[in-house]
Symmetry: none
C-alpha cells in the first residue's frame, strides 16, 4: 500500500515538474490538461485524479515556489551576522531565487494573473497567503531587530513592513523587468542585477543603516554567501 502511495506522490511531482516546464517555456496559455496527459503518457482522467482543474496545478506550483523562497529567506537570515548584513543576505537570496530558480519566479508571477488566483481552491489560497505572510515576517523581523539594536532608525509614519516593501519592490520589479524585457542591454543597461544590488546598498545608506561599509566590501562577502545559498537551494530539489 505504501508503495502505491509513494508512486502516486511521485507522479504528482512529475506532473508539477512538467507543468512548470511548460509554463515557464511557453506561458500559461500553452498549459492544458490534454497536453499534460499526452506528454506524461497518462490518461486525462488520471491527471484529474491528482488536480481537480488547471488552476489548482498553477496554484500548487506557485505555493511550492513561495515555500522555496521562504526557506531561502530563513536560511539567508541565518548565514550572516548583524542586521544590515542579514538584510543584504535576504536581497542576495532574492537575486538567486529569481535567476537560479527562475522557473519559480516565473510561476509566482503567473499566479498574479487574477483569473488563476480566483479559480484556485480556497485552501490553497490560504496556504499561499500564510506563506507570503511568513516571508514578510522574516524580513520585517530583521528590520525590527535593527531598530532594537540601534543600527537603524525608521522615520515616523513608515512601518517595518512598508520599509521592507521598498526593497521588495526594488528586487521584484527589477527581476520582472529583466525577465520580460528582451533587450535591456540595447537601452544601456549592461548589468541590471549588479546595478540593483548597488541601488539596494545605496538605499540602505540613505536610511543610515549601520554599520556602513563600501559597496566593494559588500560585494566581496556577498559573493561568498551566494555560493552557500545556491548550494542549499539546489539541495532541496
Amino acid at each position: 500500500m505504501t508503495r502505491k502511495q509513494r508512486e502516486i506522490q511521485e507522479r504528482e511531482q512529475q506532473i508539477l515538474a512538467l507543468a512548470r516546464a511548460i509554463l515557464v517555456r511557453e506561458g500559461y496559455q500553452a498549459l492544458s490538461m490534454d497536453r499534460l496527459a499526452a506528454e506524461m503518457e497518462y490518461a486525462k482522467g488520471t491527471i484529474y485524479n491528482h488536480f481537480p482543474n488547471k488552476e489548482e496545478i498553477v496554484a500548487a506550483l506557485a505555493l511550492k515556489s513561495l515555500e522555496k523562497r521562504r526557506k531561502m529567506f530563513e536560511r539567508a537570515a541565518l548565514l550572516a551576522q548583524g542586521s544590515r548584513k542579514r538584510m543584504t543576505a535576504i536581497g542576495c537570496a532574492c537575486d538567486i531565487y529569481a535567476s537560479e530558480c527562475c522557473e519559480h519566479f516565473a510561476v509566482e508571477q503567473m499566479l498574479r494573473i487574477s483569473a488563476i488566483w480566483e479559480k484556485s481552491s480556497q485552501t490553497r489560497q490560504k496556504l499561499i497567503q500564510q506563506c507570503e505572510f511568513r516571508s514578510m515576517s522574516i524580513v520585517a523581523g530583521i528590520v525590527r531587530d535593527a531598530q532594537a539594536a540601534g543600527d537603524l532608525k525608521l522615520p515616523v509614519g513608515l512601518s517595518a513592513e512598508e520599509f521592507v516593501f521598498g526593497f521588495w519592490s526594488l528586487t521584484y520589479g527589477s527581476h520582472a523587468l529583466i525577465s520580460s524585457s528582451p533587450s535591456l542591454a540595447e537601452i544601456g543597461i549592461e548589468n541590471p542585477v549588479r546595478s540593483i544590488r548597488y541601488h539596494g546598498w545605496t538605499l540602505m545608506n540613505g536610511f543610515g543603516w549601520q554599520p556602513l561599509e563600501t559597496f566593494e566590501q559588500t560585494e566581496a562577502w556577498t559573493a561568498e554567501l551566494a555560493e552557500g545559498i545556491v548550494k542549499h537551494a539546489h539541495e532541496d530539489e
Copy 2:
C-alpha cells in the same frame, strides 16, 4: 479617399478602445475576435482587415500605453526646475500613470507576462522597443544633466541608464505588487504608494542628489505638480 481613410483610422481606434476596456475589465481570456466584432457591430472579417491577429491588437494597445507614458514623461520633465525636481516629477508621472491610467498600466503588464510579445509582428516589436528607448532617454537625459550641473555624481561602473533602472524597478515593482496583491494592508503595508515615494526620496539622498530637501517639502510641491500631470493626461484621450 481621404475621408474613407479617416473613417478607417477612426474605426481602428474604436476597436482598440473596446479591446482595452474588455482587457482591463475581464482579462486577456475574455478578449475574443468574436466578441470584439459583436460589440462593435462589425463583421469579424472587418476586424481582421485592421489587425491580422489577436496578439497584434494587444501589442498595438501596449504601444499606445507606452506612448502615453512617454508623453507623460516628456511633460513631467518640463514641469519642474532643477535636475532632482525633474527626476521627482518623473516618479510622480509614474505614480499617476499606474493609478490614474491604470488601464494602460494593466495592458503594459499583459504584454510582459503573456506570450503575446513573440506572436506580435516584428514591426510592432520594433516600435515598442523604440518607444521604451525614448522613454529611457528622457529620464537618462535628466540624470546626465544632473551630472553636468554637478548635482549628482554617479559611482564608477554605473551608467545613467542603470541608475534609472533602479528607480524604474522601484516604481514598476511597487505598482505591479499593488495591483496584484489583494491584501497588502493585511500584512502591514497601509500606504504602499507613499512609502515608495519615501524610498525614492531616500534613494536620491543615498546618491547625494542635490539639492536636498525634506520629504515633507517634496511632498508639498509634488502634490501640486501632480494636478497638472493628471490634467494633461486626461486631455489626450
Copy 3:
C-alpha cells in the same frame, strides 16, 4: 443573398429532422452535438451557429410538434358539425397525432423532462406556453359553445378547462402508456386505442353531452374524418 439564406434555413430543418430521428429512435441521451455534426457531415461549429446548445434543439423540435398539434386541432374543429362531434374530432386528431406523428408525440414528452425545459431559452419557453395555451383555447372553446348551445351542462365547480383536462389526461395518458409499455397485449389489452375511444365516448355520455349516438355510429363517421385529418397532417411536411 436570398439563396444563401434559403440554404441556411434548409439546413436548419435538416438538423432538426436528424435530431428528431435520433431522439425518437434512441432517446435523449443518444443525441449529441458531436454526432449531429458527424452525421450531417458539417463541422461542430456550424451546428452551433444554428443552435446555441443541445436543449434549444429539443425545444425547437417540441415547439414544432406542439404547433403541428395545434394546427391539427384547428382543422379538426372545423371538420365536424355540432359541439359533440367537434369534440370527438379533436379526440380523433389526438389519436392521429400520437400514432401517425408519433415522432412528434415522443419529442413533446421529452420536453417534459425538467432538465431540458429549464435550459432552453426563455423566448422559446414563452412560445411553447403560448402554443399550449392556444391549443387549450380551441378545445375549451368547443366546450363553451356546447354549453351555450345547450348540448352540455357542466357541473358547478368544474371549469371548461378542467373539463378538457379530463379528456387530455385520458388521451395523453393512453398514448404515453402505449408508447412506453412494450407488452400491453400480454396483460390483456388488445386494442388500446379503440378502447380509449370507447372511454372517451362513455365519458361524454356520463356528462350527458348531446346529441347522443351509438358508439358504432361515432366510429363510422370518425373513420371517414380521420382520413381527412391524416391527409392534411402529411401535407404540411
Copy 4:
C-alpha cells in the same frame, strides 16, 4: 455467513435509497456511480458488486416503486365494500401514490421515458412485467367481480383489462401532466386532481356502474379512506 448476507442486503437498500433521492431531486443526469460511491462512503467497485451497471439501479428502483403501488392496490381493494367503492378506492390509491409517494411515481416515469428499459437485465424486465401484470390483475379482478355481481355490464368487445386501461390512462395521464406542467393554473386548471376524480366518477356513471351515489357522497368517504391508505403507505418505508 447470514449476518454478512444481511449486511449486504442492507447496503443494497441504502444504495437504492440514496439513488432514489438523487434521481428525484436532481434528475437522471445527476446520478453517477462516482457520486453514489462518494456519498455512500464506499468504493466504486463495491457498488458494482451490487449492481452491474447504472441502468440496473434505476430498474431496481422502478421495480420497488411498482411493487409499492401493487401493495397499495392490494390494500385499497380490501378497504372498501362493493365493487364500485373498491374501484374508487383504487383510484384513490393512485392519487396518493402520485402525490404522497411522488419519488416513486417520478422513478416509474423515468423508466418509461429514458432508454433505461432496454439496457436493464432481462431478469429485471421480467420481474417488472410480472409486477405490472399483478397490479392489473387486482383491478381487473374488481371489474370481473362487478360483472359477476351484476353491478356493471361491459360492452361487447371491451375486455376487463381494456376497461381498466381507461382509468389507468386517466390517472396516469393526469399525474404525468401535473408533475411536468409548471403552469396548469395559468391555463385555467385550478384543481386538476379533484377534476380528475370527477371525471373518474363520471366515467363510472357513463358505464352505469352500480350503485350510483352523488359525487359529494363519494368525496366524503374517499377522504376518510385516503387517511388509511396514506398511513399504510408510510409504514412500509
